[in-house]
Symmetry: C2
Subunit: 289 residues, 2 copies
């Protein structure tokens, strides 16, 4: 089997070819420039292989409803030049096999879900949050993505503000102090004037971030009741998750039963930002069945 | 077909018998006293009929995982005498047909889902919030309940506080100012010293409630992306929902596309608190198929 994977990000496309055991056989990174140039380079890359299926996980917003006229499009993205791009259509003109199409964070969620189910038979559902330049969330329940009229946008929920953070307005251009506006990577510059990577873990801002991330985990716990919650993205580290688990325990106050927190709230199982690639392989394989 | 329905509440059990068209043929209310007396009266009532199936929607928390040893139990409820009550077990000793078991709010969600799908083919998912003495939420997606390790507890999410309500501590004994702690019926006595029914709609407290209810709707919109959100329970009225829709529009800021708000955020379609009874009929019929 040869399954293609496209993780389409705002700065680069990570394209890979893998087999039925999710092993990466070949990989390339293509800079995200114009839709025409980037898609042409992507298609040229995959033309070298005889693909059985192709999985795509894209930045968005994207149209995921199969009944929609513009299914497979990147829709009203803020990224210049990429509005209303017929991504899947361009691929379908060049490849015969099934093409799966979901959001970047859903792709990562699916990869983590598949790997978690392989190692733990108790896992039937998983929520994945990415905390980076932006914030997003996706959920897989019994092998299916959550989301009816469209994909989730869990990064834009509102939260109870931390008492030591009430003066910070948040940086989301749409909602100010939503989750993304309070915890995305650029909030470090906005709050402290420095990059997050330079801020030591003893700084109280990490407790503020942990409080908000714990609330996100409480929300998805109480609304979805998943078996596992994974936090990925550049802002996340295991020491930060130690703080998140402490805040989560305090906020949830044992109201519902959850698995042991070190198993329930975790970093990605898949290393080197490979969650979406593995998720695309798994989705491609599923489409072939 | 004869389908039984038990809507098991903290003050009364509403028991009904219906047909395959969800028509109520007979109904009785039994006061909720001890588990022994209440279940005996419930069983005696249904013994008059030859039931094909029985649907139960119960106050909780309850165990809904079929793999659990105590599946079918009311578990750690605060209601005196009802902790660890084997509800489904007592029924199974007396009835042969399938017995379905879910939360009271899930039962209502299912009833509203079924009625909504009958009148609108576009509806494939629905969230139901009940705002009464307590607050709960349930979701149905493609005919299945949301909830893996247990049923949702959407009433206990945290929210961004309204600027004119920052001094109110909230009344939830577990979380203080969670959704339930901020909008449940008894918050009127806590904030104003009077019953909610006596507070005119011009009073600013209704704008505060609408702001919090709109946040609940924003949360489920961004996390679940449902086709419809229904608000039921004693606190809800159509004039209040007018305010909720206004606040929702402002908070969501058109970030994702939703149906027209008068169709998206609504009162229950089923009149006279009948949502759970109809939901139980539908779940019983589904179990027979």
């Amino acid at each position: 089997m040869r399954i293609g994977s496209i993780e389409a990000g705002g700065t680069k496309f990570v394209c890979a070819v893998g087999d039925e055991n999710y092993r990466v056989q070949d990989q390339i990174k293509i800079p995200t420039t114009t839709p025409e140039a980037t898609l042409a380079a992507t298609i040229a890359y995959f033309k070298q292989f005889s693909l059985d299926a192709l999985g795509v996980a894209s930045f968005g917003p994207i149209e995921v409803r199969k009944s929609a006229k513009n299914y497979g499009y990147i829709t009203n993205t803020p990224k210049p030049g990429w509005q209303n791009t017929d991504f899947v259509g361009a691929l379908q003109q060049n490849f015969d096999g099934p093409i799966t199409w979901t959001t970047d964070v859903n792709g990562s969620a699916y990869g983590e879900y598949v790997m978690s189910t392989l190692t733990n038979a108790q896992i039937n559902s998983l929520v994945y949050y990415t905390i980076g330049t932006g914030v997003g969330g996706g959920a897989v329940i019994n092998g299916e993505f959550l989301g009816g009229v469209g994909h989730p946008e869990m990064g834009h929920v509102l939260l109870k503000r931390h008492p030591d953070d009430l003066d910070f307005q948040g940086i989301c251009p749409f909602h100010g102090d939503c989750l993304e506006g309070l915890v995305a990577g650029p909030t470090f510059e906005a709050r402290l004037g420095v990059k997050g990577a330079t801020v030591p873990l003893e700084h109280p801002v990490w407790d503020i971030l942990a409080y908000y991330l714990a609330q996100a985990a409480v929300q998805s716990t109480l609304i979805i009741r998943p078996d596992k919650i994974v936090f990925g993205g550049g802002v996340i580290s295991e020491p930060l998750l130690v703080k998140v688990r402490q805040a989560f325990k305090k906020l949830l106050n044992d109201y519902v039963t959850v698995p042991p927190l070190t198993e329930y709230i975790t970093m990605p199982v898949i290393q080197n930002n490979g969650s979406a690639t593995l998720g695309n392989f798994a989705l491609g394989l599923k489409a072939l069945k």
